[in-house]
């Protein structure tokens, strides 16, 4: 299964936009665990996931070809 990762702000310095082979990653919670394990700096950051452009508020199943955005909050003005 493949998914597309899109990241924003400071997170894009950590995780570049990429297609990810996701064996064993079936849900957004699995994906979070995988990302925080692979990119330990992410664990200390505030971020939210969006699956196919919809904000993830609870654990959701991921399907082949889904796109997942990783967004940090911005505060600058």
């Amino acid at each position: 299964m493949q998914i597309e990762l899109i990241s924003f702000g400071k997170i894009s310095e950590l995780i570049s936009n990429q297609t990810l082979e996701t064996e064993g990653i079936e849900t957004t919670d699995n994906l979070k665990e995988y990302l925080e394990r692979t990119f330990p700096d992410l664990a200390g950051m505030k971020y939210k996931l969006a699956l196919n452009k919809n904000l993830i508020q609870q654990n959701t199943e991921i399907k082949n070809g889904d796109s997942i955005a990783i967004m940090p909050p911005f505060s600058g003005g």
Binding site: F8, L55, G77
Partner: protein, 369 residues
């Protein structure tokens, strides 16, 4: 109202004289007259919004001028809201202005915001953003949210119902504020002036759409903009159950009123000067090493925020620790970290307004030594 001034927008399909009249009877509060606020103000005023409230307690600094386009070199040191209002009155004498030269806080937020129809948040820190969000949610005021970082921007419209009656706010995106210092603001982070220029202008567009009831505002959407690749990415926001709605004024005050006396004290420059020559006082500059003005490191110990945890855990001889930074925001974060580590063992202070507010003092002192 001089119709000729607005002719080009009155003839727009769907806008018309109704749209113009809606603008002219609207009251918009712009919080933060900085990189986002300046362009938003120019377009709102030019378009003929009837009354504009300007809230900001900052003074113009030279480092603001690359992006805060209402100010010129001669304005450095002056109050932003006054300089902005002077230029904006020239731009359009039809518009009335109310100046709020204050920092929006728990005590004044509800009182100030309640008189307006739409609020624009163009501030530069999370404390203000959560405060404004909660106040607008409590008062059911449409809130246009804009924020920037590096080459990117975010834009959203909160507290406005979509066709299904759903409305969301910033806490549906990020329920809990980041810890102080967790996310850099413009002072620590770079920003290219056109980015807040673009996002602030888009925000003015959203405000005009909400007031004139045209098009589809970014209700329940978060728009991401990236200047470097000219891409936009729009995300649908759904309500979160990870936070509790603000229930009323008392709840709002509890959440946002700082109980500062028990942990650390925010002091003014006079109080710092009194303590400065006392050998029991240590002054710590928590800015990054690249920031200006550079201070004498023999007088002001430099410990950037990334190194602050280690510093707080080290043994500090002095009894009084005064924390300073550019604007007095990071120094508050540092004071909280220090208090967590040291408790009541030391007297902890944060210089209110920071080095930028007392720039003259810091520069003079540096020259004397």
């Amino acid at each position: 109202m001089n119709r000729e001034r607005y002719q080009r927008q009155i003839i727009l399909n769907g806008f018309g004289i109704e749209g113009q009249e809606r603008l002219f009877t609207a009251k918009v509060l712009v919080i933060g007259a900085g990189g986002l606020g300046c362009p938003a103000l120019q377009y709102l005023v030019a378009a003929g919004v009837g009354l504009i409230g300007l809230a900001d307690d900052d003074l113009v600094e030279i480092s603001n001028l690359q992006r805060q386009i209402l100010y010129g070199s001669e304005d450095v040191g002056l109050l932003k809201v006054e300089v902005a209002a002077k230029h904006l009155r020239q731009l359009n004498p039809d518009v009335k202005f109310v100046l709020h030269p204050v920092s929006i806080n728990a005590e004044n937020a509800l009182r100030i915001i309640k008189d307006y129809d739409v609020v624009f948040d163009g501030t530069d820190n999370f404390v203000s953003r959560y405060l404004i969000n909660d106040a607008c949610t409590l008062l059911k005021k449409p809130l246009v949210f804009a924020a920037v970082s590096d080459f990117e921007g975010q834009l959203a419209v909160f507290n406005v119902e979509d066709e299904n009656g759903t409305k969301t706010n910033y806490r549906d995106l990020f329920p809990v504020p980041p810890k102080p210092g967790e996310i850099p603001n413009c002072v620590e982070n770079g920003i290219l002036g056109v980015v807040p220029g673009i996002i602030g202008t888009m925000a003015a567009g959203e405000i005009i759409k909400i007031i004139a009831k045209i098009g589809k505002p970014l209700t329940n959407k978060l728009l991401h903009y990236n200047l470097l690749n000219q891409q936009q990415y729009e995300i649908t926001i759904t309500p979160s159950n990870e936070y509790k709605q603000v229930l009323g004024e008392a709840d709002f005050m509890n959440r946002h009123k700082k109980n500062i006396t028990e942990t650390y004290l925010e002091i003014h420059i006079e109080q710092m000067i009194e303590m400065q020559n006392n050998p029991a006082t240590l002054i710590v500059d928590v800015r990054e090493r690249h920031e200006f003005p550079k201070l004498d490191s023999n007088v002001y110990k430099q410990v950037p925020m990334a190194e602050f945890e280690n510093f707080a855990a080290s043994s500090i001889a002095q009894q009084n620790i005064i924390l300073i930074c550019q604007h007095g925001i990071r120094s508050v974060a540092a004071a909280e970290i220090l208090h967590q580590k040291l408790g009541e063992a030391k007297n902890i202070y944060s210089l209110k307004g920071g080095i930028s507010k007392w720039r003259q003092f810091f520069l003079t002192i540096r020259h004397e030594r």
